[in-house]
Amino acid sequence: MLRIDCPHCGPRAQVEFTYERTRDSIVTLAMTPNEAMNTLYSRANPRGWDEELWRHSYGCRQWLLIRRHRTTHAIDSVTPC
């Protein structure tokens, strides 16, 4: 199991958190429909590091930005966002 170091609550078990989406898949209001579609529906899905939005759903309920390795499961950073 992952242990995620919430900047608000300290180290907590991964089951308290929910993965939301990657940082580069946040749709903004300024996007054209085509940009929005591509952002919403496609992912780099790397076999390596990516930046992801998670939520501490069963803790402080804050959104977090996590830089995480998708093969080793190593967590490089957890920052509020």
Binding site: M1, M37, R43, N45, R47, E52
Partner: protein, 418 residues
């Protein structure tokens, strides 16, 4: 290839069974092929077989990074059925199910397809209404679906907890009697042997690490065993779809996630059908060796680790024990996981890609084993002719931009649909 038969076995007995030959050649990569299939899982091997068998191609290679069938083909819980709600799905999976019914004969390899029935339990009025609606949709397309009363379910699976006070009270169910399970390894081996007999080169321990392109067209693949030229390249790598498409600079509506399964110690026959549920995500069947095979939800965050989290196993085990209390007496002997290609509407993608000559078969989420023969057949047609198979025409990559997603779970753009 010498045919497998009872007679050959008897004849072999006279010569001490020394007649056995390897089921396929261990091929060395040639300089170039008409078609290179990346990925030696069931889908890739079936594709190669149907390319040779139905489209007369002979210069085909399947390139596999480790050993064939060692990916999700060899890790899945082997449930085969066609009873989906959406017409594009159930019509496609029904085509596949019909191929399962004849597969052992067609391949001359016993894939142990066992149509023992695929039962969905209903736990509430709303579950029963949804099961009835799904059954009607299936009946409209001539696919078997039978709504079962509470008593019929109790009779079919006597070990279910049918008490009113059960954790998940059972109101009834829906069964597809032609559904069931199959031997996963045999599917990979059977297709490999049959494809090899038609001249397909099966190249193992050969990872594709890049693509060669000229003028916007793919001209071959770079591999750990050197470059291989190709007129057409078909990606068929399940959980690695995002990574391999990324080597060609393409982003897909797919995210890789972990799905786990586990098996108990072998016991005498206790469950002779496949048990699933409309509300829970827990599926139970008994293997031919006697182990109870269990699976549940994916881990629900991106991962290529082929290594899952304990809480998922605990949840699946808790649900299974609530449904079949006798399971609490069994020991879990093994658990494992595979990397699944979770598409953003839960449906597969069999499609040309925005690079000429490059194609994708992926996005099977955790339901692609049952598709294996149909997926191979449809992908072979697309690769050979450039025209999608009519039953797979809705699985193009363009459906996301067109708003024509096939969203069985009805959850929108999330890579965690079934």
């Amino acid at each position: 290839m010498s045919r497998y038969s009872a007679l050959a076995l008897l004849r072999g007995a006279l010569t001490g069974q020394r007649h056995w030959q390897p089921a396929w050649r261990d091929a060395v990569p040639k300089k170039s092929y008409d078609v290179v299939i990346i990925g030696g899982g069931g889908h890739g091997l079936a594709t190669a077989y149907y390319l040779a068998r139905h489209h007369g191609l002979r210069n085909i290679a399947v390139v596999e990074k480790s050993w064939i069938g060692g990916g999700n083909t060899g890790r899945n819980t082997t449930i085969v059925r066609s009873n989906y709600r959406q017409a594009p799905l159930h019509n496609f999976f029904e085509m596949a199910l019909k191929l399962w019914e004849g597969m052992s004969d067609d391949l001359n390899f016993n894939v142990m397809f066992s149509p023992r029935g695929a039962l969905f339990l209903g736990h509430s009025d709303s579950d029963m209404r949804q099961l009835a609606e799904r059954g009607d949709a299936l009946a409209c397309d001539g696919i078997d679906a039978e709504l079962l009363s509470r008593d019929q379910v109790a009779k079919l699976v006597p070990l279910l907890d049918m008490a009113d006070t059960a954790r998940f009270p059972i109101q009834g169910g829906m069964i597809q009697r032609r559904g069931g399970t199959a031997r996963h390894d045999a599917v990979a081996w059977g297709y490999a042997r049959a494809a090899d007999a038609l001249g397909v080169d099966i190249i193992q321990n050969c990872e594709v690490t890049g693509f060669s392109m000229a003028g916007g067209r793919v001209t071959g693949v770079e591999t750990t065993r050197g470059p291989i030229g190709a007129d057409k390249v078909g990606i068929c790598v399940a959980g690695n779809s995002g990574h391999v498409a990324g080597l060609a600079g393409i982003r897909l509506p797919i995210e890789a996630q972990t799905l786990q399964a586990f098996v108990t110690e072998p016991v005498k026959p206790m469950i002779d059908t496949v048990i699933m549920s409309q509300s829970l995500h827990c599926y139970i069947s008994q293997s031919d060796k006697g182990g109870i095979v269990l699976g549940g939800d994916p881990d629900q965050f991106p991962s290529y680790a082929q290594r899952g989290l304990a809480p998922r196993l605990e949840k699946t085990a808790a649900e299974a024990i609530a449904l079949v209390p006798a399971l609490s007496r069994l020991r879990m002997v093994r658990c494992w996981s595979g990397t699944t290609d979770m598409s953003f509407d839960g449906s597969p993608i069999i499609s040309a890609l925005p690079v000429d000559g490059l194609y994708l078969n992926g996005g099977w989420c955790y339901g692609g084993f049952k598709a294996t023969p149909g997926s191979g057949l449809a992908y072979a047609q697309l690769l050979a002719t450039g025209v999608p198979h009519p039953l797979a025409a809705g699985f193009g990559l363009d459906r996301f931009a067109r708003g024509a997603t096939i969203d069985e779970a009805g959850v929108g753009p999330w890579p965690q649909a079934r």
